[in-house]
Symmetry: C2
Amino acid sequence: MMVPLWTALCWPQALPPRSLAAREVPVPETVSPVLREAIAPAWNPPVVPRNADEWRAFARQRDEVRAKQLPELRERLGVRVEETKIAGVRVYRVRPASIAPVNRERLLVHLHGGAYVFSGGETAAYEAILMAGHGGIEVLSVDYRMPPDAPFPAALDDAVAVWREVIRKNPAAKTGMFGTSAGGGLTLATVLKLKELKVPLPGALMAGTPWSDLTKTGDTYFTNEMIDNVLGTNDGMLDGAARLYANGRDLKDPLLSPVYGDLSGFPPALLLSGTRDLFLSNTVRTHRKLRDGGGTADLVVYEGQSHGQYMIVNRAPESAEAFRETARFFDKHLKR
Amino acid sequence: MMVPLWTALCWPQALPPRSLAAREVPVPETVSPVLREAIAPAWNPPVVPRNADEWRAFARQRDEVRAKQLPELRERLGVRVEETKIAGVRVYRVRPASIAPVNRERLLVHLHGGAYVFSGGETAAYEAILMAGHGGIEVLSVDYRMPPDAPFPAALDDAVAVWREVIRKNPAAKTGMFGTSAGGGLTLATVLKLKELKVPLPGALMAGTPWSDLTKTGDTYFTNEMIDNVLGTNDGMLDGAARLYANGRDLKDPLLSPVYGDLSGFPPALLLSGTRDLFLSNTVRTHRKLRDGGGTADLVVYEGQSHGQYMIVNRAPESAEAFRETARFFDKHLKR
């Protein structure tokens, strides 16, 4: 049977979308009460900034809210944070009260999330505090430059510069790298860049619900739209932040959307997501690519969680579980 | 602050459900064209049988449809199927044209899916043909008894009886066990039962999108309702089949819903699911329980797939991928 060329070319678009009726979704009973409270509310859509000043104001406001959580979090997890500079980049050295003996010569480099726009300054270290506290390991959190003032490749350049300097003293095989959301995407992009530069790679990495595709491509961008109450949808804020960061570059450039990169030769990687996560597809597509590349890649999907709630809902037992899980993964794969 | 006791007791129920508006979900571009065609259609609700005769007629009809696929599938994958009996139970011995040298002393025991009601007779071996063909390993598929004639614990008894007999000749450590859907749930329940009986356990297992909770408990029973176009919803057919199988027993009995069992001491387990799978929560809750039990448990979630589509859509490259993935897992964990 002859099929016209245009049919073959256009065929994927020719399948119509599925219509879903309006419905109610209950709060799951299969998570802790603290997490349940975070899952219950509907997504609260932000007002999307329209220019550089509005992005700055928006980021400042978000960061101020998170900064208020930091003293209690440091106190509760018994963690000290010290600001310093490495390779000219501001970093936060995050030390738990007690470092596990096996971790005394190990270090984790942390790249924070926040859509490449938020979570700068002292809030960069928020997730690093959770990791250091639950994992009993020292973490170095990179307060990389961000748009609107410093778009791509500033964040990547800062991550690479800090890494190069860190491994002058710390063996790369004993040093891990991790981050959630944009931090997960940047972790993957940094390893791609280090491969290209033939710089020694981290001994292991964790990419939590990585923003590995900056375009609205992947199943759960649609199926979990509005079910995820952290991100809600890609339209608006996320799309705007992606374009602000990319600064005119193709969003499918592997250094922006690492799922399109060559992930062969990557170190062992742990990927985290949740059943309601808008980035579940970003996570499982990256997982598949890493396995296809021949690497060790472990996937954990948390029941009921939207994007990054293991990090955001820091009082939930599921948060401690995720960072202990990550610590076990690093313990297994980082050189002793 | 004083909180009345009734508030504390009733509080989880007090969180209101989330309302989702009607919407359209596109067919993902991130899967193969063959899979895309299977993802596109809306779920086609079956007429739920109301009595034993209707269940029998329904099962016969479903099995006839699948039986028609078997000759082509055997031919395409170069697999021979031979009916025999072990411990009085009908089984199908499924042999690929070429068995990988490392697999010559290995064997997989297969427990088929079909909601504990369908996929009996020769269709029991459907998934076993895929596994044997893609994995280059011999598979023994158990045509266990099913309701309405033989409800719980007939299926479990048959699985245990066959296993006991198999390991008289084949070392348990060189023998794996696997199944999808009800077959995944039954695989887990059988291992629970073998633990209880102190019979040697399989060397490794694969539980694909396991029906590990026969009650409508777990997040994706709701979030993926109607998004999954294989199962659609738990209401009606699935719930009816669960009750038919349980035959009056508590659906949360761990031998019916193994996610409620003690999964410590389990062999290494591979768990498969999909982003649209109604049983994604069944899968990730089981994954968590296995990790909490200290075991090795690997999770793979396939992009865009509803319940068991890696098995159902047998012409998709994603199907070959899933069974090759499973073969690699067994190769890694079964004794040589």
